[in-house]
Amino acid sequence: MKSTMSGNENMIVLKDLSKTYKVGPSTVRAVDSVDLEIPMGQMVSIVGHSGSGKTTLLSLMGGLTKPSSGRVLLDDVNIWNLSDKEMSLMRNMKIGFSFQFASLMPTLNALDNVRLPSTFGDNPEADLNRPEELLNLVGLGDRMHSYPGQLSGGEQRRVALARTLMNKPELILADEPTGDLDEETEADILETFRKINEDGVTIVIVTHSRVVASRAQRILRMTKGHLSDNEE
């Protein structure tokens, strides 16, 4: 599948991208010859069954795993031509990841967890008051000094979301960001994504949820490693 938005700058371009794994004697093609262009500021959802390769595709977009073949261009830069330092900096400054599990550091309180991404960047002008603002934004202004073990699952997700936004990313890659959350928290998080997207941030959401997927401007379907437009 190929989607081209002529005249728009693309945030993500995937070219003939594949990822294979060796499982015993056989080879599994988790992502199979995917071509994709996602313009800046677009909100895209990727749906598909478990094991269809959605999460692997998301990880390839974020440079978390190396493709077996093909290219990943972020903002016109082939990310696998970057050094580890440059790639790390790119992840730090450009991308915000949101995972499908509670991804907080257990030894850091909410405030420090949100602050963590600023540790790795080299931006001396980083707004170091931002963690407090973000925790207020996600409604946890009164839980700043709580540790993950003292927070509910929904609260932990909201802290993780605040952390995702810490370095003002241009691209958010979210893997089941509302999985196992109650409807109210899910609605809060989706509303936050909507607002961020309105500010021009590109968002790619991998989800099982039709409700979540329907919030995107574009829905793609992953089937056995192949990406296609959703035709449901």
Binding site: S59, D84, L89, L108
Partner: protein, 400 residues
Amino acid sequence: MKRLGLLYLAAQNLRRKPFRSFVTIAIVGLAAGTLFSATLLIGSVDRSLEVGMERLGADLLVVPEGYQESGQAALITGAPTSFYMSRSVLDQVRATPGVDQASPQLFIESLLSVPCCTGRAQLVGYDPDTDFVITPWLNDNLNRSLEKDEVVIGSLILANKGEQVHFYGQAFNVAGVLDATGMGADESVFMKIDDAYQMAADSSIQAVEPIDVKPGQISSVLVKMAPGTNIDQLSQRIKTNVPGTMIITANELSRSVTDRLSGFTRGFIAIDAIVWVMSLLTIAAIFSMIVNERQREIGLLRAMGASRKFVFRLMLTEAVFLTAAGGLVGIFIGGAGLFIFKAVITTSLGIPYLWPPLLTFVKLTLITLLLAIATGAAASLYPAYSSSRLEPYAAIRQGE
């Protein structure tokens, strides 16, 4: 608000498994403590020998046959002893070719109930006319010789300059206190040999127990060799020329102490080597475990923008924190243990002891600490490296 630093993150990580951190600190502490205390002990014995030999000032001692061991014990640990031979030995020794200076000493054990001392003290009578041990010290420190009934005392004798000490019913004024040597001199009281003879003569009237020594008797002859003399040849000549005597050389004294220490040193090297290897393996195992347990966290850190170098340094910093803490704990406990049990150790091993100068102490502390830190760094090197090489996505998935 400040950024989170590497050190803060490392410290926070270590807090989550306090027992494991405690075990690592304890193992490194054991290794560091053993190394520190044993090296300090050996160094202190060496220093004591160096200072003690300088104080002894003689190349060799002539003692009556059969009293070589008790003479050595008196010189090394201050174990009181008394043995006598005829003063004619002094003339015979002096007449031996290769002898530059010879001076007699008289050894008398004090009575048990002397207030100045724990147990018996060694009273040493020296001849001010020929002495080359106490006299130079008196010249340097008092600028005079001892008056009648004056004594110079070792550093462990419980009296101060200007006070009086009593032996065999006779009062002596303390003219000076010698610097510590860690050897027998610290528990000795030096007086003029004529005062010692007088004290012995009066002891039958003034003391509970009389001293059985007469003028014309001496305990040892201190000998300084003429330049260019071979000490073994001189010892042999004295033994031949002066029948009924034995020779204690300064080298023999050192060797005697070294021999006593050798078993301890061998045991220490074996034990400490085992403990260090154990620490190295334990830290390596613990950090491999930590890397396995924290794969998802490492993956997340990488996703947030932590570079491989940062992850590597984080792991290394955690190891260094633990081993530095272990090193400090070991140094403190090892040092305190040696301080508390010094008397038991030196008595049971029969060795002299003198705390090293501050600079040596600081150097040894730093070396032990650096060794502990290097052990931690070396042991965690591979786990830290492998954690930094984890592919973020694989790390996150494997941690699920």
